[in-house]
């Protein structure tokens, strides 16, 4: 089938602002949008710039706005988006070139929530693992699945309005450790998230939940963190 694909282009060396270029290419309905981008880059315009690495929905590098909604280009098929496709960079991060955005502000926000395991207590007597029951592990299973693609954060109207908001992805990753029974820094993280640019900026628009390619219930994770801050209890 013939696919008409309109792609946002911006060359920082030449352009004052971005513009759209339309390409008509042959594609199979089971091709992914990423395949079409690769085809254009390989055969039509080698300057087309976008990030991708794994091409299998694992590395999180190719989040982009496809037909107006954040998705991973490697996880969406042509038959799911139709023969008329618009591809734009994700919103709310500075654009470096074409579909490539500057991810630094995203990772700066991520780092603010201490997204790593903290436990300074001595190891158990046998000197081996800190044990956890299957139920305790299940408590935060969903939020371990995040691949830091930024689809959620850059779909959030609060984040568009204010880049200081830590954003859904940072809160998801805080959730992953806050509800881990082996971790000891939940209070510290909850305090950080109780600040002005933390969970208070979430107005439950649900764009994040819809955008997440890992099907993490992002708004729910944020809701659980909100509740933990309000009650001071983790359950």
């Amino acid at each position: 089938m013939e696919v008409t694909i309109k792609i946002f282009r911006y060359n920082p060396e030449k352009d004052q602002r971005g513009n759209y270029v339309t390409y008509k290419v042959e594609a199979h309905e089971n091709d992914r949008v990423l395949d079409v981008l690769e085809y254009i880059k390989g055969k039509i315009d080698g300057a087309l710039s976008f990030r991708r690495s794994c091409a299998h929905g694992v590395c999180g590098s190719d989040a982009m706005r496809i037909n107006g909604r954040n998705m991973l280009a490697c996880k969406v098929l042509i038959r799911d988006v139709g023969a008329n496709i618009t591809v734009e960079p994700i919103l709310g991060l500075p654009i470096k070139k074409d579909l490539i955005v500057d991810m630094e502000p995203f990772f700066d926000n991520y780092k603010k929530v201490l997204p790593y395991f903290i436990n300074d207590s001595p190891l158990p007597a046998d000197g081996r693992e800190r044990l956890q029951s299957p139920e305790e592990r299940a408590r935060f299973d969903e939020t371990t699945k995040c691949i830091l693609c930024a689809a959620c954060t850059t779909s959030c109207p609060s984040y568009w309005a204010n880049g200081e908001y830590y954003g859904p992805a940072a809160i998801v990753n805080a959730h992953r450790f806050i509800f881990d029974s082996r971790d000891e820094a939940a209070d510290q993280r909850l305090q950080i998230l109780a600040e002005t640019d933390g969970i208070a900026r979430c107005h439950t628009a649900y764009n994040c939940t819809e955008a997440c390619p890992r099907e993490i219930k992002v708004t729910k994770a944020i809701g659980e963190v909100k509740m933990a801050i309000m009650t001071g209890k983790l359950d």
Partner: protein
């Protein structure tokens, strides 16, 4: 070099979010609509005279009443949904259903009210 992070209002509104994104936008419009309505209403009573009369004339117009009633009713019902889901995060699993329920409550209430406003306006 690069383009700034700014997201324009039109770019934001063009984002194809889920049903909840529409309620988020309508909630803002409702809250803002009511805020402006109350502020101008107070102003109209305060200045009085011909100018106050013109403003009050707008308020008594049935089309405006439908608009402001939409703002108030939608904001109240949607605000209630947000509050309930905030208080019981477990219910967030059913947020899509919650929005269906919200419309099921809103549409008949609003429909009846529009009927009453219009039939009163037509002297019924």
């Amino acid at each position: 070099m690069g383009l700034k992070r700014d997201v324009s209002l039109s770019a934001g509104l063009r984002y194809r979010g889920p049903a909840a994104y529409l309620t988020y936008i309508l909630h803002r419009i409702g809250g803002l609509g009511m805020g402006i309505f109350i502020a101008v209403h107070i102003l109209a009573s305060f200045v009085g005279g011909r100018f106050g009369g013109i403003l009050n004339g707008i308020y008594e117009n049935w089309a405006f009443q439908i608009f402001i009633f939409f703002c108030a009713l939608f904001h109240a019902i949607n605000g209630l949904r947000i509050t309930i889901l905030d208080l019981f995060p477990k219910l967030l699993d059913y947020h899509v259903e919650a929005i269906w329920i919200e419309w099921a409550v809103f549409i008949p209430l609003f429909g009846v009210s529009v009927f009453v406003i219009v039939s009163t306006a037509l002297g019924g």
